[in-house]
Amino acid sequence: MSSRAIVFIIPVIVIAIFWLMARREARRNPDPTRKSFFERNGKALGIVFIALVAFWTLFLVALPYLYMVVESFHPALPPTKRGGPDDVLTVAQYSSFVINPIGDQVNWLHMKALVFSILVSMAVTFLNFCICYPLAFYMAQAGTAQKVRLLMLGLIVPYWVNEILRAFSLRLLLASKGLINQALMGIGITDAPIDFLGNNTGLYVGLSYAYLLVMMFPLYNAIESLDKNQIEAARDLGAPWWRIHWDVVIPYAKPGIASGCTMVFMLSVGSLAAPQFLGGPRVLWFTAIIYDFFFQSFNWPRGAAYAFIMLVVCIALVMGMLRLFKVSLGEAIK
């Protein structure tokens, strides 16, 4: 049986194991008042529930990813050779990230791209936190209801605009002959246009703006539930404003901060449009490499392997950060 077929059986086996464990548990501690699932919901509705949940977990969540995992352990073959004697399990796709099979050289290009994507995303995450924290604090604690509503509207409405349109309009703004350069030259601050796109300013601006709300809402939610008296108590005890934030607000909002930072980081590393349209000519974003494997060279196994390398590295980084700041994963995804 081919390894691809096994993949489809794995979830079924997992479900069967869980079902058996549940049966065993029920036999060991019988509870006569407990009704079975079908007794509670009726046969027809029960079958519908199970079918829907099964469809959701199997076809939409588990199988696509499992299929990609399996794919990443296969060689890239033309359709005629799939399933043939050449279709063996291999880690070649993963090792190609370190040693390029063409020329047998260390694959600096791709490794650098991954590191670059991660570093830029970290910077974007930090930038977003610096922008969103004061805004979120104002909206959650200081602002009047009417102003907060206006601000919220101003934050949300621009996100109705399509991502690509947004990226290109930022390009218009930041280009050499764009609005900002013309204004700067017009009032005589610079003589020659500043290359915002070439020096990656566009990349940072685009990525930060793209995920601003993803940072905003967890922060806002966390700070909003803080009792105003806590802030006043700290102030009354003599704390200057920055200490109030450092000692009272930030520790309280830590789960929200962790949640916002995790989301922004993950989405930023995995973004495609902003780096492509706003990055400088030398920017090589890791997702762009993955995209090219899938859609340019039709090398799905290598694309899948690269995607999983990125995923694992990012998850490891996030977990490390959470541990460093003593936030549990449960709190961060709350």
Binding site: D227, N229, Q230, E232, A233, A234, R235, D236, L237, G238, A239, P240, R243, D247, V248, P251, Y252
Partner: protein, 361 residues
């Protein structure tokens, strides 16, 4: 070290609403001073003005003789205890207590020493490493007091800090608060709507209503010599008998009420013909006939036996009930409901005040 607090013609407005209207007061250093009034009377606004969270629209606040205008709450020699205590949930008990010292740059050893000292004062020795969530309501209360005292304020401001406790604990904490105040010797300004708290703890009380200070005095003065109808009806139980004064002489007056002419003291010298209210406290009323102009009769509606005393309710004026409190040694037989009975009082204990707003029940 304590300091007096002077309120000099303080007015606080929020838009069109006047929360505090022209309050002038001189609270002495080391005094236990209470603001007593129903909710919404402006007492918390006064407290926030003293602590610096609010700037008065008009007038000045002076603490220890020093004008506080433009000085923020973190720079004033006051410490505030919040109604919900506002302890920091993520810090330990000791960290909570020593937080004010930490922001002042005190070292670890000094903070620990001060925290231990205060934990002894509030009778929670050795509990500094606990989390706030592990404490009971009364213990949290004491930690909040310790946290405020740690910064060695000259004035401690307390915003109904006992309101979240149950009755037994509340009564216990009254005595404890008073003891702590006498031990540390600083000025306490206490906000409450509970007259029992104000009467038992305070050196002096300011009774407030609708943003106006109605009367300032010690507990006995406020209870025995109320100056307005509001104070008479808000502090302690009281039976009001409104009417028109028919005769006034020698510090006494006779007022024509729905129950006929009744006599009482007339400390404000109200003239015949003016409207007034006669107040007689439930414990000053007794069952049975008395002198002619200090006796009325009415129908008993209800009798409530409370153990150490019995409340007898009778039909009063304007749908209000007259309450008579009979002690165990009162001797008189308690009348049955729906019977009509005479009740009387000593004219010395009846008090006639000018007509004014009564406290809402």
């Amino acid at each position: 070290m304590s300091a007096g607090v002077e309120l000099d013609h303080i007015t606080v407005r929020f838009g069109d609403f006047t929360a505090v209207d022209n309050a002038t007061l001189d609270i002495k250093g080391g005094e236990f001073f209470s603001f007593l009034g129903p909710s919404g009377c402006g007492k918390t606004t006064i407290l926030r003005t003293v602590s610096g969270f609010l700037e008065p629209s008009e007038g000045r606040v002076r603490i220890g003789g020093q004008d506080m205008a433009g000085i923020g709450p973190n720079k004033r020699p006051t410490a505030l205890i919040f109604q919900n205590l506002a302890l920091f949930p993520l810090m330990s008990v000791a960290e909570n207590i020593s937080y004010g010292l930490r922001v002042r740059g005190a070292g670890k050893a000094e903070r620990r020493r001060k925290a231990d000292e205060l934990l002894d004062l509030i009778a929670l020795p050795g509990q500094g490493d606990k989390l706030v969530s592990e404490l009971s309501g009364g213990q949290k209360q004491r930690v909040a007091i310790a946290r405020a005292l740690a910064v060695e304020p000259k004035v401690l401001l307390l915003d109904e800090p006992l309101s979240a406790l149950d009755l037994k604990l509340r009564q216990h904490m009254r005595a404890e608060l008073r003891a702590i105040q006498q031990k540390v010797g600083i000025t306490f300004i206490y906000i409450t709507h509970d007259q029992g708290e104000a009467l038992t703890m305070s050196d002096r009380i300011a009774v407030m209503s609708d943003g106006v200070i109605q009367q300032v005095g010690d507990g006995k003065a406020v209870y025995d010599q109320p100056q307005t109808a509001f104070v008479a009806s808000f502090v302690g139980e009281n039976n009001p008998f409104p009417g028109t004064i028919t005769r006034a002489e020698n510090g006494y007056a006779v007022i024509e009420t729905a129950f006929g002419p009744l006599r009482g003291r007339n400390p404000q010298g109200l003239a015949a013909g003016s409207r007034g209210i006669l107040f007689v406290r439930p414990e000053s009323l007794q069952l049975g006939q008395g002198s002619a102009d200090a006796t009325l009769s009415s129908t008993v509606t209800n009798v409530a036996f409370e153990g150490h005393m019995t409340h007898v309710y009778l039909n009063g004026q304007a749908k209000k009930e007259i309450i008579v409190t009979v002690g165990r040694l009162g001797g008189a037989a308690i009348p049955a409901p729906h019977t009509t009975t005479p009740i009387s009082y000593d004219a010395e204990l009846g008090l006639i005040l000018p007509e004014g707003m009564l406290a809402r029940e």
